[in-house]
C-alpha cells in the first residue's frame, strides 16, 4: 500500500539519484572549505601586509633619518675618503720606491778598496759600474766579489762590458748588473 506522502509527483520527478546527492554534498562541502580557506588566507596575508607595511614605513623613516644624519657628516666623510684615497696612492708610491742605500752598499761591497770611477742606475734599475783598479789582482777581486753577490742572490745578470789594461798598470773595468731589491 502506498503512503500518501509517496504520492508526490513533483518530488518524484525532481529527485536526484543517491550518487548525485552524495556528489552534491561533497561539492558543497568542498566549496565551503575552499571559501573558508580563501577567507583565512586573505585574513592572514592581509594582516601580514598591514604589519609589514607599518614596519616598512618605520624602517623607511629610520633610513631617511640616518641619511640625513650621514649627510650632516659629509665633510668628515669627504676628508676620510680623501685620506684613504691618498693612503692608497702613497702605498703604491712606496711600493715602487727602491732602497738606493742598499744599492750603494752593494756597490761599496763589490768595489771594496778599488777606486770607484762612476756608476749609473738606469730606468730599468740596471747598474752600470765603471771601476779603475791599480792592479789586475784587484780587478779579479771585484769579479770574485760579484760572483759571491750572485750566489747570495743580491745581484742578477752581471755582465762584464769591457776591461782595459793600461800602460800605467791600472785596469778599467766596466760592468753591468741588476741589483735585487
Amino acid at each position: 500500500m502506498t503512503k500518501s506522502s509517496d504520492i508526490n509527483l513533483l518530488k518524484a520527478k525532481t529527485m536526484l539519484t543517491p550518487q548525485m546527492i552524495a556528489i552534491e554534498g561533497q561539492l558543497r562541502t568542498a566549496s565551503l572549505v575552499i571559501l573558508l580557506a580563501l577567507f583565512c588566507a586573505s585574513l592572514f596575508f592581509g594582516a601580514g601586509y598591514i604589519i609589514l607595511s607599518r614596519q616598512f614605513t618605520s624602517v623607511s623613516e629610520k633610513k631617511q633619518s640616518l641619511m640625513t644624519a650621514i649627510g650632516k657628516e659629509l665633510q668628515k666623510e669627504g676628508i676620510y675618503i680623501t685620506l684613504k684615497d691618498r693612503l692608497v696612492i702613497i702605498g703604491h708610491i712606496i711600493d715602487q720606491q727602491h732602497s738606493w742605500l742598499g744599492v750603494l752598499d752593494l756597490i761599496d761591497r763589490v768595489t771594496a778598496t778599488g777606486a770607484r770611477t762612476s756608476f749609473a742606475v738606469n730606468e730599468n734599475d740596471e747598474v752600470n759600474l765603471s771601476i779603475t783598479n791599480n792592479t789586475l789582482e784587484d780587478t779579479f777581486g771585484v769579479v770574485d766579489r760579484i760572483l759571491k753577490e750572485v750566489s747570495a742572490k743580491t745581484i742578477a745578470n752581471p755582465i762584464l762590458e769591457s776591461v782595459q789594461y793600461k800602460k800605467d798598470g791600472t785596469v778599467s773595468v766596466s760592468l753591468t748588473f741588476i741589483p735585487i731589491f
Partner: protein, 246 residues
Amino acid sequence: MMRYLRRFLRIYQGFVVSGAMLLFGAAALMFAVLPGIRATRDLYGNLQDVQKEVQALSGKFAFLQSLSEDDLRNRLMTMLSAVPAEKSVPTIFSSADGLALQSGVSIVDMSLLSPGSLATGAAMRQSVSEKKIGAGTLAFTMNATGSYDQIRSFVSEINNVRRLFDVTSFDLTIGSTGATQVRLSLAAFHQPIPTKVGMVQSPVIALTTKEEEVFIKVSQYPDVSQTFLEALAPDFSGGKRNPFAR
C-alpha cells in the same frame, strides 16, 4: 524556456550554489588573494632590502661618529704634504733644497721636464705608470755635488722625506779628489682632491692595516720643504655632495 531553466535550477539547486561558490572562490583567488600574496611577498622583499640598507647606514653613521674631524684633517694635511693636490712646484724645490741642506750637498741645477699646467693638470691623460700609481707625476732632474758620503746620504734619504719622490735613474761620478757628482732623474707626485664622495648609501671602509702602516711611515718622514700648504677649507652648504666646494 524559462520553465526549463526554473526546473533545472530546482533539480540542480545544490550544484548551482556550490558551483557559484567555487566560481566566486576562483575569482577571489585570481583577482584578490594571489595579487595580495604577491604584494605581501614584494613588500617583504623590499622590507628586507631597506632593513639591510638601514643596517649598512647605521654602521656607516656609527663609523663616521667614531672619527674625529680634526684628527682626520690633520692626517690628511700630513698626507697632502707627501702627495699634494696640485703640482706644487715650490715644494719640489724646497724639499730638494731642504734635503740638500740636511745632507750637506750642493745642488748645481734642477730642471723640471715639461711642467705643463701649474695647477693639477687633471685634464692630462695619465701614462701607464701614473695609472698604476693612481697619481700624476712631474719628472725633474737634479745635479748635485759633495763628498761621496754626503751624496750617499742624499740619495738614500731622498725616498724618506715629504714630499715623496721616486728616483728613476741616477749617474754618480767620483772625481780623483773624492768630490762626487750625482745626476738624478726623479719624479714627484700629485693628485687632485676628489670633488665628490659618492652616494650616501655607499659604504665607508675602515683603513686597512697596510694603510695605517703607510700613514705611520709617512708621518715619520721629515717635512723638509719648510712651506705650508694652503689649509683645506671644506665648505659644504648642501645641494651637491662635494665636501671641498669653495
